[in-house]
């Protein structure tokens, strides 16, 4: 009967559809593997939303979204020195759909001060590309009677322990930079940590503290107005916004480089083609006018180099900061 006929028909149809669906599924997944990216990418940023690094991330994400056609979604996971963010990263599959923003603290300093974080930055992660390097400036309050870095070192050596320097916190970029300078020059100055650049800057401007090291954006207006005097920059070349300020290297300290840097890192085991593609997209994005403008505002030097270049850079930084952290007895912060 027609009613009975339906049943075998339906079953045959059902099998047909299942077969077709199965084929389609395998076809789709094969497609997905070869055409990365095919779904949104999650970018873990180990800072609270709103800071400078988040701005860098957001600008890059906007560009990359336009270029690659899929959304790059920023996932802010601040706090704990970045350790929880990396631990979260460890829980994601190595398929190139989750990346993390790596920076000097996470890669070079944390391994020394958080030995049991549950991951190894070199073995469990693979660097993709360096995004930018932000120079650290060394400034003094205008009333401090020194004219350049040499006279500062002499001044400090004449009164050990009496000069103070402020920082944005323990193990912050400014703290590390100043400790590096201390190590290189042999000065004995006292560290006074604050919670963030703001309060630190406040006390330096008021003259209560004599020295400070921080990034360009926060200090530039005060250097220009004369409230602070910039003695040196921690970059390898002079920076364009302050062409009269010598680098620390110029005073005879070879190989001295203190910059705050950011990059992208993925899970170890991510297919190399995906890493290469991502790096190339980033290099392209870094040349876009919006991104160039943001970097110029910070006097940041854009990156975009290859994965192995970034790996070599990280290794160099780890070696450099290991010495500073140990000699400066820097603890988690």
């Amino acid at each position: 009967m027609s009613h009975n006929d339906h049943q075998p028909m339906l079953r045959r149809d059902y099998l047909k559809w299942m077969g077709a669906a199965g084929l389609a599924a395998t076809g789709v997944s094969a497609h997905a593997q070869s055409a990365w990216p095919s779904k949104p990418i999650r970018w873990i940023v180990p800072f609270a939303p709103g800071g400078t690094s988040s701005i860098v991330a957001r600008t890059m994400a906007t560009e990359l979204t336009k270029q690659m056609g899929v959304s790059i979604i920023i996932d802010n996971k601040g706090g704990g020195g970045g350790v929880p963010a990396m631990q979260e990263m460890m829980r994601t599959p190595a398929d190139g759909y989750t990346i993390v923003m790596s920076h000097i603290g996470l890669m070079a300093v944390n391994p020394l001060i958080y030995p049991d974080s549950g991951y190894d930055v070199n073995k469990d992660f693979v660097p993709v590309t360096l995004l930018s390097r932000v120079p650290s400036l060394f400034v003094v309050h205008k009333d401090v009677p020194v004219t350049d870095l040499k006279s500062l070192i002499a001044y400090a050596k004449a009164r050990p322990g009496q000069l103070n320097y402020a920082s944005a916190g323990n193990a912050s970029a400014g703290h590390l930079a100043m400790e590096a300078l201390k190590l290189a020059s042999g000065m004995f100055i006292t560290h006074i940590p604050y919670r963030g650049t703001g309060p630190a800057l406040n006390d330096v401007l008021a003259g209560r503290i004599q020295l400070l090291s921080a990034g360009t954006p926060a200090l530039l207006p005060h250097i220009k107005s004369g409230a602070l005097r910039c003695l040196a920059t921690g970059t390898t070349e002079r920076i364009s916004v302050l062409p009269d300020v010598p680098t620390v290297n110029e005073f005879g300290f070879k190989d001295f480089e203190t910059v705050q840097w950011y990059g992208i890192t993925a899970r170890a085991g991510t297919p190399p083609e995906i890493i290469l593609k991502l790096q190339q997209e980033c290099a392209k994005a870094l040349k876009m006018p919006d991104v160039i403008a943001k970097n110029a505002a910070e006097s940041a030097i854009p990156g975009g180099g290859t994965s192995s270049e970034y790996a070599a850079f990280i290794a160099k930084e780890q070696a450099r900061w290991k010495e500073v952290v140990i000699k400066g007895q820097i603890k988690p912060g």
């Binding site: 779904k39 949104p40 979604i73 996971k77």
Partner: protein, 154 residues
């Protein structure tokens, strides 16, 4: 739970805090006030006040507001309390594997149960709506990281 037991609990907290003080690694840096002074002072002060509270409670002079007339807990109080806390536990346990909406709905239903609303379709619907709408507002519109709404949906 009476004031005396509360005082004992408090003293227990002070004890744990004091133990934690000893665990703070000594600092190698030279400073007038180290990392232990301020917390130690606070633990000492808290212990003193807790002892005074305990003595006062022992003498029966401390209040338990739920003993006042018209304020006693109605029967079933423990169930209600556990229900509310259970909602929290459910959320914590389930949010990572199951996304936001399902544990959120369950949490809401447990809390509603704590206020005597039974586990029924109405509860499911209302709590599901609350969880769903807020996932949408927070995660979609505002970009707060709440994870996926449902496990198979991004």
């Amino acid at each position: 739970m009476t004031p005396v037991r509360l005082a004992l609990l408090l003293l227990g907290v002070c004890g744990v805090a004091a133990w934690q003080l000893t665990v703070i690694p000594p600092s190698l840096m030279q400073m007038t006030v180290g990392p232990v002074l301020a917390p130690a002072a606070i633990v000492a002060a808290l212990t003193v006040v807790a002892l005074l509270y305990g003595l006062s409670a022992w003498r029966g002079r401390q209040v338990d507001l739920s003993q006042e007339a018209g304020q006693e807990a109605l029967p079933g109080s423990t169930t209600r309390m556990l229900s509310l806390l259970g909602g929290g536990v459910a959320f914590i346990a389930l949010v990572i594997p199951l996304g936001f909406v399902l544990p959120g709905t369950l949490c809401g239903m447990c809390i509603a149960r704590a206020f005597d609303a039974p586990f029924n379709g109405k509860s499911l619907l209302i709590c599901g709506l609350i969880a769903g709408v807020f996932w949408f507002v927070f995660a979609r519109l505002l970009g707060v990281g709440l994870g996926p709404a449902l496990p198979w949906l991004f």
